[in-house]
């Protein structure tokens, strides 16, 4: 007999439910529980969405929005005629979104094939980014245009690879004025800590030397940025929010004349080639009236473009150790004894102090009677000379006598007035101060054990007058000496930058000529010194062979500074035209030999360029 479950079940009496009243009561209590639990949820929802809603809205935005900066184009540097000395060029970089490791290997192999590279190099780049895969990986820097086209053509075969354009600093002149212009590079950790680079972050490109560094605040511009939406892994989704355009850096308009600068560097390079013992050549050209620096050459320099592209450590040490490259701007940081060029300072001091009169003569027998060991460079002596002759022929004995009469401290007073032994205030970092010898200086040097007696000896007073002992000046300071005399005793503050203009060509800042010091020299004093300096380039003068056929009258002074470490340093300072000076020049050849032989021809080349004189002597 079959009985289904259902039958069994239904056989049984229907169980009575709870009484209706009890069920109704339980309904109410259950409803209460329901209401209570829902009220808890509503309460918390109100708390989250209404009370704290704005805060959470902000949090959700912060979750998904990332600010991507747009770098500001760095400002250019142009010369006085608008020739571009420093600019930026586009650099094409290959970047890669590393998302899918299995796909990546194939993609990288293909990319390496397209670019003709070793795939392991690319894989190493990927490994370098380990842990930072949320950002695009920089695979190859600075593609050539051909490589760019190839990558673009094969784009479908290399998913995730894209080309990014970044501005890269470019120096059209290559080595031209490199030590003055400087270069750019990634901010260093010590720079990051300094007050000057407040607000910069790791990886920022900043000016490292020269004008790039000094005018960094103007050149860098203000980066813009846009908001990019990112997903929970920090990867951009392609939705771009509102952005702020970058404000380009300002353009520096230099006082420099690129053509004059080029001539300076060429002339110096030629000299260095002719004189293998010479270590370096420096030339500074200053506008006499304004103090604007028309040229500032320090040879050898370097090629900033190669630095920007990335130079290997080995290459760098090689070019530096062989002397092909030099980062220092010797015009402001190199300290040299001035040699006979200093005689113009002594001459000014002596005339102003009345220690000598223009007509007064002195017989040079080849040595000074009170210190027979102190000879003249002309062994047989210059005979009877006055101040002008002594300057023109660079008679040491005459100036020994002036040194004896003036004393070192009096000479120092004038040296300081002419800007020696102090920073000139030029708009460049790294300027050296130099040393003007005084009795106080000697005492200090003695206490430090650098000299053997505390007082200045008579011979030292005499030698200081002709620039041989203790003096240490930069070529720029010596150029300022020439400028001061040319400008009738009014010393100007030297300046590299004439004006700063913005991207639209509006002048943001101008640098008017600034008088550093007016020596208030009487006309007869200055004229006498100028005449002496004119004699230098005239028959019998030390620089006659460089200027005998030069149509513009040039006033100058040669110098050959003793160097206990090696060859003498060759100097020439001067200005032209003699009647109404326009430019002042200082040339130094580090261990170049004699000033009249080595330095004066460089000065001639400079004047020749400035006054557009056609070469007459087949050079």
């Amino acid at each position: 007999m079959r009985r289904s479950v259902r039958t069994i079940y239904q056989d049984r009496e229907e169980k009575t439910n709870l009484p209706a009243r009890e069920l109704d009561r339980r309904r109410k209590i259950a409803a209460l529980v329901l209401f209570f639990l829902l009220a808890i949820l509503v309460g918390q929802l109100f708390n989250l969405q209404v009370v704290k809603g704005e805060k959470f809205l902000e949090l959700s935005k912060r979750n998904c929005l990332m600010i991507t900066p747009i770098p500001a184009p760095r400002g250019e540097i142009v010369d006085r005629d608008g020739e571009v000395l420093v600019t930026s060029r586009p650099s094409y970089n290959v970047l890669y979104w590393y998302v899918n490791p299995s796909e990546a290997e194939q993609t990288l192999d293909r990319l390496a094939e397209i670019l003709g590279m070793d795939p392991s190099v690319l894989q190493r780049r990927i490994r370098d980014y380990s842990g930072r895969y949320f950002e695009p990986i920089l695979l190859v820097k600075d593609l050539s245009p051909e490589q760019c086209v190839k990558v673009a053509e094969h784009a479908p075969e290399i998913p995730g690879v894209f080309i990014d354009v970044q501005p890269v600093r470019y120096y059209p002149g290559g080595t031209l004025a490199a030590p003055v212009l400087g270069y750019v590079g990634e901010i260093s950790s010590s720079q990051l800590k300094s007050e000057r680079f407040k607000g910069y972050k790791i990886g920022d490109i900043v000016g490292q030397e020269g004008l790039e560094s000094y005018y960094e605040p103007y050149l860098k511009g203000t980066p813009g940025g846009y908001q990019v939406e990112v997903d929970y892994r920090g990867r951009p989704t392609g939705n771009v929010g509102p952005g702020v355009p970058p404000e380009p850096g300002k353009t520096l308009v230099l006082e420099m004349s690129a053509s004059l600068q080029r001539v300076c560097e060429e002339a110096l390079t030629q000299v260095l080639q002719k004189k293998p013992k010479a270590k370096a050549g420096v030339a500074v050209v200053i506008d006499v009236k304004t103090g604007g620096i028309l040229a500032m050459a320090s040879v050898p320099g370097f090629d900033p473009n190669r630095l920007i592209q990335g130079i290997s450590y080995r290459e760098l040490t090689e070019v530096l150790s062989t002397g092909q490259w030099r980062f220092l701007n010797l015009a402001i940081s190199g300290l040299y004894p001035p040699g006979s060029c200093f005689k113009v300072v002594t001459a000014v001091a002596a005339l102003q102090e009345g220690a000598v009169t223009p007509g007064e003569t002195f017989v040079c027998k080849g040595y000074h009677p009170m210190a027979p060991t102190l000879g003249c460079w002309q062994k047989q002596g210059h005979g009877r000379v006055n101040l002008e002759d002594a300057l023109g022929q660079s008679c040491n004995v005459f100036f020994y006598e002036l040194g004896r009469r003036l004393g070192t401290d009096t000479i120092a007073k004038y040296a300081l007035q002419m800007g020696l032994g102090q920073k000139t205030g030029v708009d460049l970092f790294g300027e050296a101060m130099g040393t003007v010898p005084t009795s106080a200086w000697k005492e200090k040097a003695y206490s430090e054990g650098r000299v053997s007696e505390p007082e200045l000896l008579l011979s030292e007073h005499m030698m200081v007058a002709m620039g041989q002992v203790f003096h240490m000046y930069t070529p720029l300071q010596m150029a300022i000496v020439a400028q001061t005399i040319a400008n009738d005793g009014v010393r100007m503050k030297p300046r590299m930058v004439k004006a700063i203009v913005d991207a639209d060509g509006r002048t943001v800042k101008e640098f008017p000529p600034e008088v550093a010091e007016n020596m208030n020299l009487p006309a007869q004093v200055i004229d006498e010194v100028k005449r002496g300096m004119l004699k230098v380039t005239q028959k019998g003068g030390t620089a006659y062979w460089s200027f005998y056929d030069f149509p513009v009258p040039v006033a100058g002074k040669t110098g050959t500074a003793e160097n206990p470490l090696g060859e003498t340093h060759a100097w020439f300072i001067g200005f032209a035209p003699y009647e109404s000076p326009e430019i002042a020049v200082a040339v130094l050849i580090d261990q170049g030999g004699g000033g009249s032989e080595v330095a004066a021809p460089v000065a001639r080349a400079i004047f020749q360029e400035y006054f557009k004189v056609t070469p007459l002597r087949g050079r």
Binding site: M1, R2, R3, S4, V5, R6, Y9, Q10, E14, K15, T16, N17, L18, E22, L23, D24, R26, R27, I29, A30, A31, V33, L34, F35, L37, L38, I40, L41, V42, Q44, L45, F46, L48, Q49, V50, K52, G53, E54, K55, F56, L57, L59, S60, K61, N63, C64, E229, V230, D231, Y232, R233, T237
Partner: protein, 383 residues
Amino acid sequence: MRQTIELPTGHFDRRVVKYLDYYIVGCVVILYLLSLALIDSATRDVPGHYYLKKQGLLVSLAAAALATGTFINLDDLVALGWYLYGGNMLMLAAVFVVGKSVMGSTRWISLGVFDFQPSEVAKLATILFLAYMADRRERAPRTFWDLALFYAVCAPPAVLILLQPDLGTALVLFAVATGCLYFAGAPEKLLVKFLAIVAATGVCLLLLHFYAGLKLPLEEYQINRILSVFDPQRDPLGSRYQVNQSMIAIGSGTWWGKGLAKGTQNRLGFIPEQHTDFIFSVAGEELGFTGSIAILSCYGLLLYRCILAASRAPTRRGTIVAGGVFSMLLFHVFVNVGMTIGIMPVTGVPLPFLSYGGSALIVNSFAIGLVLNVGWTRQKILF
């Protein structure tokens, strides 16, 4: 003597049209439509509206399940009794043999088109079996041991579910048993006392675990999830990360929400499990406080109508089934929504009708169908 299983039958009755609880039907339809919108919004990054299409199919299946529940002979269904229980246990055991693991839990049996989750069925099977048990007894459960028996019956399936491991669903069975007992007429004081004892035991076990090294049949992450509700600093990168992101999502919806498919937290993948367990965070972010309240109101109405059906059921089993379904759904809604807003631990409890998941959707729809069934059959045929 051989017994055969007679499967429940059903029939269409004209009373349905008149006495069907249209509030419940309306709420369920709204929730169905909302589930399509929210799941589509939560899975925008999957091409071709894959989840929307699948959910569409599941919703139509669920509607069929709801209709089946409405017209099935509930008496027959409950009469299956031990067969329901045994079948349920077999399915749960089968999970360990042929089950499919997702993220460390073995909860699914693959049926080709979709994965079937026996623990979802277990909830309803337990309700039906408890109704059967209560019906078999002469009197309503009254003593401590009566209660203990009801709870004990739930223990074997609960243990199997806990082993999957799925703490949330195991707790659902406990809630279901409590609801069934309440509507079966268990004395309230006794029930409260029982619940207090269970809660105290749970706390003691946790304390013993931490201070005496007692080994609990729970994974460490489950314990962490429970404790992180009270101590948000605990496990900040694990489950708490999810909850924090979910809270940010819901909070950032403010009054009116960011609009469907415009929630950044949702769209950019900040909320894990956004289309399943954390679907409410999508609703909170994109529909705002107003939308959240609307959804909770919808649940509130739906659940209240379940209580109403329970209180007016013609039979004891009808009351218990409706009451069990009420307690099951209420537990789900409270624990799930509570989890997304940071006041309940993260447990794998989906939000009824809204979370993506076929088994739960179909079982819940069928369960609501049974409640409708209880509702319309109470009316005597009047000619």
